[in-house]
């Protein structure tokens, strides 16, 4: 069954480490994210914070879509569960935001594990639809369980730790957290376990006949991916001090997936480019026209035609061709 997402970019030959070129690119990228806030006014810093947070969500999606060959449409919901729990914990139960973040990530991981049990039996379009339905259940619960979730109006409160109250220090806290998380994810997809996932993506039947426990691998991959989405959700709770059903909605899941696709499915760090491109464009285009959604739509169409492997995937291919 064909995957609904374009084929992942071909991986470089030396796969165990990182080429010097790639390492240089990562260093430059990290440097850009580290230095930019010093040059930008506060509003752009908040946009950059959002870029980093959503890059984590997109990387979590990429673990499944790019490395496991299962495209999920429920990661917005998993992300949002964490956001809800963190806001509820701090604003309504008066708990510490740090403990709240832990509880939120735990809750997201739990939800991901339950989803995984149901979803790993399927693949391709069926996986897509099943995860879509699971995500919609979370959305429905958040919308209707008014006494806990605040229904349509959502939950509010001061979630962000007071030490990080100003946008600038919060940005660097997020920067450090995201750097650690990105490194962990990179290690994860390069680990033997991650290589097995790629094997499953390329040929499930072969991996099974080689003696790998495919369902267990899928279950773990899904849960780990949910864990990372939960981290992004917890950061988002501190960023926004607010959560409503739109945070767990389908559009959130789609946005995460689109960021992963735009950056390049199966490139992991392409998520940063995708997140930067989408959030940046949203903010830039909406300055000039209220039809910004049409502009974004047109951009996706163009990307699908001219760079179906995503921006980073396209760059990689370009470099590979030049080398030949």
């Amino acid at each position: 069954m064909a995957s609904p997402v374009p084929n992942p970019a071909p991986l470089p030959a030396r796969d165990t480490g990182m080429s010097r070129l790639a390492m240089g690119a990562v260093a430059v990228g990290a440097l850009v994210f580290a230095v930019l806030p010093l040059l930008l006014p506060t509003y752009q810093v908040s946009i950059l914070t959002e870029v980093l947070i959503f890059a984590v969500l997109a990387m979590a999606v990429d673990i499944l879509a790019g490395y496991t060959g299962r495209t999920p449409l429920c990661h917005g919901a998993i992300f949002g569960v964490s956001t809800y729990v963190v806001v509820y914990w701090t604003a309504h139960m008066g708990g510490s935001p740090y403990v709240g973040a832990g509880v939120g990530i735990l809750a997201a991981t739990g939800v991901a594990a339950i989803f995984a049990l149901l979803a790993i039996r399927t693949s391709g379009v069926y996986f897509l639809l099943l995860t879509l339905a699971l995500g919609m259940i979370v959305w429905g619960v958040c919308l209707r369980w008014t006494s806990v979730t605040g229904g349509e109006n959502g939950l509010r409160g001061a979630v962000r730790p007071s030490a990080l109250a100003d946008g600038f220090s919060f940005y660097y806290a997020v920067f450090v957290a995201v750097a650690v998380v990105a490194f962990l994810m990179w290690r994860f997809v390069r680990s033997p376990f991650g290589l097995t996932l790629r094997g499953i993506r390329d040929s499930e039947s072969r991996m099974r006949s080689l003696g790998y426990n495919v369902p267990a691998h899928l279950f773990l991959a899904f849960t780990v991916s949910g864990f990372f989405a939960g981290i992004a959700g917890a950061l988002y709770a501190m960023f926004n001090d607010f959560v409503s059903p739109s945070t767990v909605g389908l559009s959130q899941s789609v946005e995460g997936l689109l960021m992963a696709i735009t950056g390049g499915v199966g490139t992991l760090f392409g998520a940063f480019i995708g997140s930067f491109a989408i959030i940046g464009l949203e903010n830039l285009v909406s300055l000039y026209t209220e039809r910004w959604q049409s502009v974004l739509g047109a951009m996706f169409v163009l990307i699908m035609i001219f760079a179906p492997e995503g921006i980073l995937g396209r760059i990689r291919r370009f470099v590979a061709q030049r080398r030949r």
Binding site: L21, V28, G151, E152, N153, G154, E290
Partner: protein, 418 residues
């Protein structure tokens, strides 16, 4: 640095430069008064959002974009009917455009998100449309003031009293299942049952219900004297249409929350809307000379009767304008500005009556019980048939005692057990 990384980094820097560019020119302190207006120009309630901006601009055009001797500059942002977007746009307006105050939003969830944000930084935020009860009650924020707005449960109370006076004793309610609906129904049910009425049944349906027949069938058989409905937008239109085609119109009187017969709903509708009674502060069919003047001016400009959205933003703008006059347009001292808003009385608004704010930043209105009738041009509009003077958001209760009861929800409707 090799060629690729150079390309990559210079592309990134160029992108950042473009993003940052529109903001390079910052406002000076002595420049114009900057007002950030947020309205849903896309998304589910875009039509209402457009009328909000129209009403707001109409006021400032009449005044030549001047207030207290300073020029007024309006920055409009689309909140996309989405609380996350609203929050982002509020950030941009405050941190980037350096506005002196925020205005607007339509959906309660967008308003609550923005209110939570300005709670932290003290930017004055005015909400002529957001009706969520607690913003001017249990969770009041000092810099959030409901100029020319109302709380959801404020107007259904006089309507309930009026219903009791008509001899209705048994009511059934049908409402959209979200906080705005719970609050309006709660206001009605509490006053109705405390005055000796009975609630026979309550129906809650999801937003965007296309088929009301399951509800209407049950409503018809409850034996109610009157039916109270709380609907907005397309749901309101569909409910009234299906109420008529079910043959209930003329059988059981239909009363409702004011959104049901707002011009934004009934403008395009026919005979099925006739005779529906609601309570509101504004009635476009009133014969008050100020109201007539406003309706005529609005009609001349936009070729339609004004809705709640146009009226509220127009009057909200007027309120701020009046408050800025004694300050000579000085907005820098927020304390003084907010205090001036709180003690300003709205005199010349399209309502034609004087409106004051209560101690919680919510206006006290002379509420009109209004009925939909056909006017001389063959269009349906709302005409006042009774009036309740000086209705505050707390009705006849003591604010302290009132706020001890829980906020209205599906579970708590304030129904008095008899």
């Amino acid at each position: 640095m090799d060629r690729r990384t150079f390309l990559k980094s210079s592309a990134a820097l160029a992108a950042v430069g473009t993003v940052a560019m529109p903001y390079v020119a910052r406002a000076q302190a002595s420049g114009p008064i900057k007002i950030g207006v947020m309205a849903p120009l896309t998304g589910v309630v875009a039509a209402g959002g457009r009328e909000m901006v129209d009403g707001f601009n109409m006021y400032w055009e009449e005044r030549g974009f001047q207030s207290g001797g300073r020029k007024v500059e309006i920055v409009v942002e689309d909140d996309a009917s989405n609380p996350d977007t609203a929050l982002q746009k509020a950030r941009r307006l405050v941190e980037q455009a350096n506005v002196d105050m925020l205005f607007g939003n339509l959906l309660a969830n967008t308003g609550l998100a923005v209110a939570n944000y300005v709670k932290g930084n003290g930017t004055p935020y005015f909400i002529p449309i957001i009706a969520a009860d607690d913003l001017t009650q249990r969770n009041r924020i000092k810099n959030v003031i409901r100029v020319a707005g109302y709380t959801a449960s404020q107007f259904p109370r006089p309507l309930a009293d009026w219903c009791l006076k008509q001899g209705y004793r048994k009511v059934a309610t049908i409402s959209q299942d979200y906080t705005f609906g719970h609050e309006q129904c709660g206001g009605f049910c509490q006053t109705f049952t405390e005055g000796g009425g009975k609630v026979l049944g309550q129906f809650w349906h999801p937003l965007n219900t296309s088929d009301f027949s399951p509800y209407l069938g049950q409503l018809a058989n409850l034996g109610a004297d009157v039916i109270f409905c709380m609907e907005t937008g397309a749901d309101a239109a569909r409910l009234m249409q299906q109420y008529a085609s079910f043959g209930l119109k003329g059988q059981i009187p239909l009363v409702g929350a004011m959104n049901v017969t707002d011009q934004s709903v009934i403008r395009t509708m026919g005979d099925e809307v006739e005779g529906v009674v609601v309570a509101a502060h504004f009635a476009e069919g009133s014969d008050n000379p100020r109201t007539k003047e406003f309706v005529a001016a609005y009609g001349k400009k936009f070729s339609k009767l004004p809705s709640l959205y146009g009226f509220s933003m127009y009057s909200g703008a007027m309120w701020i304008d009046e408050a800025l006059k004694p300050l000579n347009g000085a907005t820098a001292d927020r304390e003084a500005f907010l205090a001036s808003v709180m003690k300003t009385d709205l005199v010349n608004s399209p309502l034609g009556t004087t409106v004051k704010l209560d101690a919680f930043g919510n206006p006290i209105y002379d509420v009109a019980i209004r009925k939909v009738v056909k006017n001389a041009d063959g269009k349906y509009w709302n005409v006042p048939i009774a009036s309740y003077p000086q209705v505050s958001q707390f009705w006849k209760y003591d604010p302290e005692t009132y706020m001890k009861q829980p906020p209205y929800s599906r579970e708590f409707q304030g129904i008095k057990k008899s």
